[in-house]
């Protein structure tokens, strides 16, 4: 038939027929992630892969990589595909390696507190399994029921629990990685720390968006399960007061497990969905973990600090509900239908400023949305501001993408930086790292001389026709979109009867 049939035969020979597919249907389903990229985009980037393979282990991956180098085919690793920056979406077609099928827990070591897992396992499953064995995973993404371990490593994530235990970079003991030439390497030592001299290979792969190698095993340090995980919630008049209270709390030695803040607008949107949500200015959710006696003291002091800034503690039931909802912050998508999320890190000292700026961006772009975020560590607040879009309207939906760029701009202004890079935002990398990007280029060339490891991501944005999209051009384009969005009528909630049956949850 065509060329891909040869690929099919060769790959089936390597991993077995039932683990390879090149049907139009399967290829279509591996051409996207959470990002609502319009169909039109698939002309600029060849988002539809030529073939999908589900490797079983590092040896399969190694064979596939050798084959890909020989035949000059791009390889795109894909975990849960729950990121919104197109990290797992092909830019030039090629082989999608569906790592999601490698999801076993290989080793749980209670004596020395570490676990080794395959990268496709999702965080929620790992968290639940370990908790049943009296172990706690330090941090996990707010998309834990969908996100894979390998995916979060590749995006250098911070999330729930990071305030106390750090981001994924703080939690990894070692990685098993398959390089583009098929070599299988181990980056650290599973039993002990990695901080002696010697280039830190583990960190090289954290946040590499799959551009340097395929992660096939992850060893994480784990912690003894806490006696209690206690969620608390505080209601504030507005996000400004909430921000000040968070700032004050993070200047103390109290170390909650997790701190999250949500704009009152978030609850307004939930009410549009017929949920029983309160009418408030802002909410701060603080969750403690550890020994009950120590939590009691921390809880009391925290309540005092919150009260100083006008925060009122909610009931336990409400706080528990908020904790359960930590994975479900994008419900408002139904109202569009569509949702755009802008992820940006800002210095914690500027949390109030950034909140106002984010609200300002939403207002300027005439979008309906909410400012929500978490506190990554005492230095850093992670804003995940979202807005509703309407996917039925191509032009308006495209223009709404400007939100991501505008929020990134604001983050830069307050001394922070935007979150991911992925398919479209590699221009920001140079803004953050300056000449450091050239070093990154050299590392990329050294490890992936044939440029087949998830090409078109992170360090270089190039359309399928080989035309690079320089950062300034992308910025200019995005500014035009923002201008268009401001000229258009304000967003309204498009759907009628959008209430779902499960009311008042």
């Amino acid at each position: 038939m065509d060329v891909s049939s040869e690929i099919y035969k060769d790959l089936s020979h390597m991993v077995g027929k039932e683990r390879v597919s090149e049907s139009n249907l399967d290829r279509l389903l591996y051409s996207h992630d959470l990002a609502p990229l319009p169909k039109e985009m698939s002309l600029a980037f060849k988002t539809i892969p030529d073939i999908v393979v589900k490797p079983r282990d590092a040896i399969d991956v190694s064979r596939i990589m050798k084959y890909a180098v020989e035949n000059d085919i791009p390889v795109i690793p894909r975990g849960g595909a729950t990121w919104a920056f197109g990290g797992a979406v092909p830019a030039f077609g090629g082989i999608v390696l569906d790592i999601g099928s490698m999801q076993e827990i290989l080793d749980v070591n209670k004596e020395n507190l570490f676990v080794t897992v395959e990268p496709g396992i999702n965080w929620k499953k790992l968290y639940d399994t370990l908790l049943s064995k009296d172990l706690l995973i330090g941090a996990y993404p707010s998309s834990a029921p969908g996100a894979s371990v390998g995916g979060w490593v590749n995006t250098g994530g911070v999330g729930v629990g990071s305030y106390k235990y750090g981001g994924i970079d703080q939690l990894i003991r070692s990685l098993e990685v398959v390089l583009s030439d098929g070599t299988i390497i181990t980056t650290g030592c599973k039993n002990v720390l990695n901080n002696s001299s010697g280039y830190n290979l583990t960190d090289l792969f954290i946040g590499s968006e799959g551009t340097l190698g395929i992660i096939t095993k992850v060893t994480l340090k784990v912690f003894p399960a806490p006696e209690e995980i206690r969620p608390t919630s505080f209601v504030f008049r507005d996000l400004e007061e909430a921000g000040e209270a968070i700032h004050a709390l993070t200047r103390t030695n109290i170390t909650p497990y997790h701190i999250a803040f949500l704009d009152g607008a978030h609850y307004d949107l939930l009410r549009e969905l017929d949920k029983d949500s309160p009418k408030i200015g802002a909410m701060v959710n603080i969750t403690f973990s550890g020994d009950t006696r120590i939590i009691d003291i921390q809880d009391k002091t925290t309540e005092k600090i919150m009260a100083e800034y006008g925060g009122k503690k909610t009931t336990k039931e409400f706080a528990d509900h908020e904790w359960d909802e930590r994975f479900f912050e994008s419900k408002a998508r139904r109202l569009g239908p569509g949702l755009i999320v802008g992820e940006s890190f800002c210095p914690l000292s500027k949390i109030v400023d950034m909140s106002k700026r984010s609200q300002g961006v939403l207002k300027k772009l005439k979008m309906k949305g909410a400012v929500v975020g978490t506190v990554a560590d005492p230095n850093t607040a992670l804003f995940m501001t979202y807005a509703i879009s309407n996917e039925h309207k191509l032009i308006k939906n495209m223009a709404s993408m400007a939100l991501v760029k505008k929020l990134a701009d604001e983050a830069f202004k307050v001394g922070g930086r935007p979150g991911g890079f992925g398919l479209l935002f590699s221009g920001n990398l140079k803004k953050i790292h300056g000449k450091g990007v050239f070093v990154m280029d050299d590392i990329k060339s050294a490890l992936d001389p044939h440029y087949i490891m998830n090409p078109g991501k992170l360090i270089e944005s190039t359309t399928r026709f080989g035309i690079p999209i320089p950062g300034f051009a992308m910025a200019a384009g995005m500014n035009i979109l923002a201008f268009m969005k401001r000229m258009m009528p304000a967003d309204k909630i498009g759907m009628k009867n959008h209430g779902t049956k499960k009311k008042n949850e």
Binding site: L25, H32, T82, R334, N497, T500
Partner: protein, 433 residues
């Protein structure tokens, strides 16, 4: 053969297929667009756990539907579809392949428990199948056969079993009255394949002194498989027929031990006037125990302890979404059996229960896959240390029973001895009388 050919000719489903899915939009359109593609459903889907393919996950299927009903893109219009297909590498999607993917699902509704945007999946998948069939996309051939056997006066059941066989297990031993307050609607699975369960149920009912009867050979398949496979066009007739038979016997209550029939009867209310109360056998037995009208005396065999209870999806979770889930009645009965002090629970139970594999008509499409799901459930039971898996559904019982046989075959050369009993709550109740 001749007859089969004739049936196919008269089959209403086999209209000339001219699917225009873009124009004839499916129901629950809001849900298709609301889907965030967060993939939370993948993490709980039993099919995904076994196959690992995105196309067999709820998320993938929703994305597929969105694609099938999507209008041409801007470039499709300007450049023409052929050119854009070539440029994007997209290509035509085979509708038969799409059907196979959508039907590769046990309809267990576990995805609904975790859905980010609250899609009512328990209705959604059934409605989508209905929509596909209405648009001329043929369902799996085996389900078409089942549809035809049910419609055939000689069978009235999906298994092509002769009609007179329906009551042959009990007609001589039980002289049931012409009319009664309660109709025990047996269901095809219990009548033809799980007759032990049928006899046990009759034993429990008679010893409790219930005023009951069955429809005998007048019973027709409830039509559950028709609704699950999207072939709704004669469901109204089935509903009217069965309701008519019940009315003829003057019953005020219908009791069934099959969750499939139980749900089908709930659907009857849309098509026929149902002047009777619908109950599951476990509800009736639990009530009898509570009213001290039924007492168990014999001890449960110690060698079969401990037991673990498996929640049938349709009886538990799906019924819960439809108004009232039956989780506690079966457990209550088991607690009242002498010798059973402790009921083990699967890590995922009640609303989070995992399908046995036998639901949604998947057996008719991909039997091997259903057994893979069952084997995983059996492994969970082994890990718990259970010696008996108890359920309250003839389909679960049959499926898990088949799984146990398969497991035994797999372990034939193993040094470990594998033993697992599979029972229905009613089997246990009857044996304890």
């Amino acid at each position: 053969m001749e007859q089969k050919r004739k049936m196919n000719e008269t089959n209403l489903i086999q209209k000339e297929p001219k699917p225009n899915l873009v124009r004839n939009k499916p129901p629950h359109l809001d849900d298709i667009y609301a889907c965030l593609q967060c993939g939370y459903c993948n993490s709980v889907c039993p099919i995904y756990r076994e196959t690992g393919w995105e196309s067999l996950t709820p998320r993938g299927k929703v994305f597929l539907l969105k694609h099938l009903i999507g209008k041409d893109s801007f470039f499709d219009k300007i450049l023409g579809k052929k050119i854009t297909d070539y440029l994007t590498g997209r290509g035509q999607i085979s509708l038969n392949e799409a059907m196979t993917k959508i039907y590769t699902c046990t309809l267990c509704s576990r995805c609904e428990t975790i859905c980010h945007v609250d899609i009512d999946f328990h209705e959604y998948w059934e409605e989508i199948r209905k929509w596909m069939v209405e648009n001329g996309i043929k369902p799996p051939p085996n389900t078409i056969d089942m549809y035809n056997y049910i419609a055939n006066e000689e069978y009235k059941n999906p298994f092509m079993e002769p009609l007179p066989k329906r009551d042959e297990w009990y007609r001589d031993d039980y002289q049931l009255p012409e009319t009664a307050d309660i109709i025990y609607f047996i269901g095809c699975m219990t009548s033809y394949h799980e007759y032990q369960l049928l006899l046990n149920t009759l034993k429990v009912f008679s010893s409790s002194g219930l005023d009951f009867t069955t429809l005998g050979t007048d019973e027709m398949c409830c039509g559950a498989i028709n609704t699950l496979s999207g072939q709704w066009d004669n469901f109204k007739n089935i509903a009217e027929y069965n309701v008519g038979q019940i009315e003829k016997r003057g019953a005020t209550q219908v009791v069934t031990g099959c969750p499939g029939c139980y749900r089908a009867f709930k659907k009857y209310r849309k098509f026929a006037k149902c002047n009777f109360k619908l109950l599951h056998t476990t509800e009736v037995i639990a009530e009898l125990i509570e009213g001290e009208k039924l007492k168990f005396t014999k001890e449960f065999k110690e060698k079969n302890l401990p037991i673990v209870y498996h929640d049938p999806c349709e009886l538990g979770r799906v019924s819960d979404y439809e108004g009232k889930g039956i989780f506690e009645a079966p457990r209550y009965i088991l607690k009242n059996i002498p010798g059973i002090d402790n009921i083990l629970e699967f890590p995922n139970n009640r609303m989070d229960g995992i399908c046995c594999g036998g639901g949604g008509g998947l057996k008719a499409l991909n039997y091997d896959l259903t057994i893979d799901i069952t084997l995983r459930r059996i492994d969970e039971a082994i890990e718990l240390g259970a010696n008996t898996i108890v359920s309250a559904c003839p389909n679960c019982k049959a499926q898990i029973g088949n799984g146990v046989e398969m497991k035994k075959e797999q372990m034939i050369d193993s040094e470990e001895k594998f033993k697992m009993k599979v029972m229905d709550v009613l089997d246990i109740a009857a044996k304890s009388l």
